[in-house]
Symmetry: D2
Subunit: 332 residues, 4 copies
């Protein structure tokens, strides 16, 4: 696969990963997990919806949880800078004959809905209602003290298509993992905001949401989040980590929420915004040789949240490496 070149200037100005909308069978259990334990802040709530944000976020929400009979991901959201960028985005989609529509979403400005090249439902908006930043509300810090939503990871069997699509929108590839000796991508880290990723795509049955990730201030918050989780009866929800990522370099821990959605806490990573920064390549065999710590449990590779109303496609099972886990294992 060829690494596509990012459009510059971008056809419209996506600024960052913004928010994710998931569903839950039990909002009380979600609240206990995300607010009482993990430390997110409630911006608003009603009988059917919980709007949460991180401690440094002035935007109304970065995580929306809706009551529903089945847990799915409804949509991932990104910000554009100005509403004029939404019009430019719709023109970009129209030129590609990709359907879109403008919708009204509570607490957001004009919002554009479409599906990306993987089939994942995306929304773009320029504005949200404003809430107080609690970045120095130290007396309200709990557990990991998650500060802001940073990125999403989505599984898809067709990484070529999503890379072509996102780089055409002006996303830059910061790092990628490829099968040794080939250009076949198994991980692609795409960014707009100047750190390694706003959205990551990994090889697997999809589109499915693998996880969304919040930053925490430092290593001690990763440990404290685990300790508080253990103390509050969420020890089984600590799925993987603490550990150190190879690509991206962050210290991480993954939790599963009561509905099975996966959320990562991680320490922030490096700035990446200069034109001379070429994408960093990692061979998949390298991933088998972790910086330290246990490998992920198999379910970390296999399980992910369905997108509402979107049937995933699975990579062909027989034509060589299929799942990420088997790719890594077969490379050892």
């Amino acid at each position: 696969m060829a690494i596509p070149k990012s459009a510059y200037p971008a056809p419209f100005n996506v600024t960052r990963a913004s928010h994710v909308v998931i569903t839950s069978r039990d909002l009380g259990a979600s609240r206990a997990f995300y607010v009482d334990m993990l430390g997110l802040i409630v911006s608003d709530e009603d009988a059917n919806t919980l709007y949460l944000r991180g401690l440094e976020e002035a935007c109304h929400h970065s995580l929306v949880i809706k009551r529903a009979p089945e847990p799915v991901c409804e949509r991932v959201g990104m910000r554009v800078y100005a509403e004029s960028d939404l019009d430019a985005a719709s023109e970009f989609l129209a030129r590609r004959s990709m359907p879109y529509r403008f919708v009204e979403v509570p607490h957001q400005g004009k919002t554009l809905h479409f599906k990306d090249a993987s089939g994942a439902p995306i929304e773009l908006c320029a504005r949200m209602d404003v809430k107080p930043r609690l970045v120095v509300a130290f007396d309200q810090f709990r557990a990991g003290a998650p500060h802001r939503l940073d990125h999403f990871q989505i599984l898809t069997p067709d990484l070529q298509a999503v890379c072509d699509f996102y780089t055409a929108m002006g996303f830059r590839l910061s790092e990628f993992v490829a099968i040794d000796g080939t250009d076949d991508l198994v991980f692609a880290f795409l960014q707009r905001k100047g750190n390694p990723h706003d959205i990551v795509f990994a090889n697997g049955g999809g589109p499915r949401l693998h996880h969304f990730a919040y930053t925490v201030p430092d290593a001690s918050h990763i440990i404290h989040a685990c300790d508080v989780a253990g103390r509050m009866g969420f020890n089984k929800n600590v799925e993987y980590g603490p550990g150190r990522h190879g690509p991206g370099h962050a210290l991480f821990v993954y939790f599963r929420d009561p509905d099975g959605h996966r959320v990562e806490l991680f320490t922030t990573h490096y700035q990446c915004m200069d034109i001379e920064n070429e994408p960093t390549r990692w061979d998949v065999s390298y991933l088998a040789n972790r910086p330290w710590g246990y490998p992920p449990r198999e379910r970390w590779y296999e399980e992910a949240s369905l997108f509402a109303g979107v049937k995933p496609n699975y990579p062909p099972r027989r034509a060589g490496p299929a799942t990420l886990e088997s790719l890594i294992s077969s490379s050892k």
Copy 2:
């Protein structure tokens, strides 16, 4: 004073604060301070120049120290995204009848020199030579483990002029301090990269460079930097802090280098890139009421590095508040 509106789209794309060029009477003493003690990495050095970078930086240098009989700041540098942005920058300056010239600078791509509205010498470039990121070279971490240059602070008696100039270039005002009950600015935090500041201007005799600032991973690195400094005979170089900033919210400590240049280490602050984020206003009287900790020593307000060949102007002494310190004191 009116808060000016930022140009969007910007006339050219400045991406971030990039580097600073200072002079030293004794490069050996500078190396002992910045490398052996503070933990910066040597990218290159010869008999007359030391090129340093932070641990996460892939760019060739963020701090250049040249041997000279007198310690001054030669220039502060910013990045634009592409070389085409340099041409757009020269047109922007030409429209304002501001002199500029293109120059060759070692290890940098095409570079544009000019003086900003405060008279401070600025350089813009799109490219630098590439060096390995050492963000996970944990065995090379020393003291504060400074990760990347984040911002500059410059003193000037005319904040209105610099705010007009930088916002016309597309900089956004993230926070500002004004005299109570007025719009008279005493601090202006201007940013392009999506956190509170790439360049800060404060009221005072100028243009003079007050400090440049490197990020550190967390609070423990602030303490460790002080501890290592004390251990290595640099205890008197710890000028102010550790403390918690009001505006910007970071944990900080300021050092003076052997030539008197001031460098800040601080923990990173919040993301700030959405269109609805209005500048945060602080009354100057608020600054007298610190989150905790001692007030700065008087010299922190008064002393700053001269720019090479630029004579500073001082604010009128009699027409009310003059120095920042007197403004804050008189507001108590």
Copy 3:
């Protein structure tokens, strides 16, 4: 002054600094400071008394605050291992013709009251009621998360007398500060539990209680305690620090409570229990040369809590160095 030799075996087995009893004009304000802000745990309370402990403490109380019209320190408490040690202690005092009496104290076993060689009221007991250790109750950690009471500091004009007295009880001198070129003590660190101090005596008008000190888990808790204090309106209560001690080596911060009592939070220091460990000597001139950070405010040297009903004596003012501050200043 001669450094006295510690009795071995000790005439009775003091194990550690245990608790302090202070009075407050406003228990509500004390509770807000020590519990809501600083993070101590309430073991018991009634209309006139607040019993507090640190997170790792299984003993009923390490800080007792009683309602009273004037803020004083009633008594500092130490533990002996067994009740038989109390009898041995009373014999030790009787041999020295020092008054003592056995008293009943709520939540404590048999308790022995006496005044030490400085005139400070001391109590010894072997037992207390047991409370749950909250050392892993991470969801209850607040601010500095103070873990356990570690030591007291008392001012006295006669360090020779107290050193003779405490070493006769089996205390060991771990570190001391003396006037340059002499053996005149200005600080004496005395210990039983195997770290540098259970009780510290400093030259000054006394006996007065200078401070009592709680351990915190690490440097980040020192910073977080300051940050929470600032956020909750206690920024003026942060009296001195964060800083690094010379003697003892700990990272510290001192708070003043609403009644003016001083409490230190600090990171734990080194183990010190081998017979070959000779006391570490520091010249008082060395203290003027801090590892880093600001010197204490004058009031840190001068102000201290009176002991109930005990009139302090002040060192002679004219015969050379008197207060600790003047000693340190005059040595510069």
Copy 4:
């Protein structure tokens, strides 16, 4: 099994776990692991012996590594307070008809050799040569910055015998793990120095040395130790963790050295020295329910260092639970 009562006063005064003597096939590899990577300090070395200590230790050595064809543990060492305690110790052993002998050991005072009730070779001494404490030599901190040796863990099939023996010496049981519904011990934590353990015994084939443990200042040092290990090619040596212990409560990570000896780094735990502190009981079934994190690999349970010249006995395999791992597994 009955929990034995600790002798008070003790027949002689053991103060703390002191040192361990192991052998290595390759002292260069040992030095690279313990010094260059882990951060221990070299006190002395010659062609056949490496004497190491932690950063806060003033004693000459806490880890002695001797060149030998096979890696074994020669001996674990404890301190008594005075040399008179060694004589009392020999009388204690003589009364029990346990062989002992006084030996000369370099850098140590008079030293007493014997085997404890598990058959493990122990040495006692009161004195060692003195080396500078490096507790504030921050510029020499590396990786985990191990501060002091804290405890040993030994496997033995007969926990009753060792508990009887050590409590007769005045050791106190701080925590223990027993098979549910019985008093059959599978873990016994025994202490003299006032924190939960100087020596731990666990059910298993023995006597074998399971691990020795050094304290580190805080959680960030646990992570940094792993990061440095990974960076320096020791990622496979990170055997288990980081994780949070149930009993003892510390944050831990276990490494295997190049010879297979196991060393733990952990954050210090709670003070435990009051007479009312009854041993904390844990059911073995509780251990299956970790605070968070992965369970240990099987080899963590099974593998341990042989003692020189001591053939281990294994618990009977058929009479129910045998190894610790099977006990924990069978209790799920």
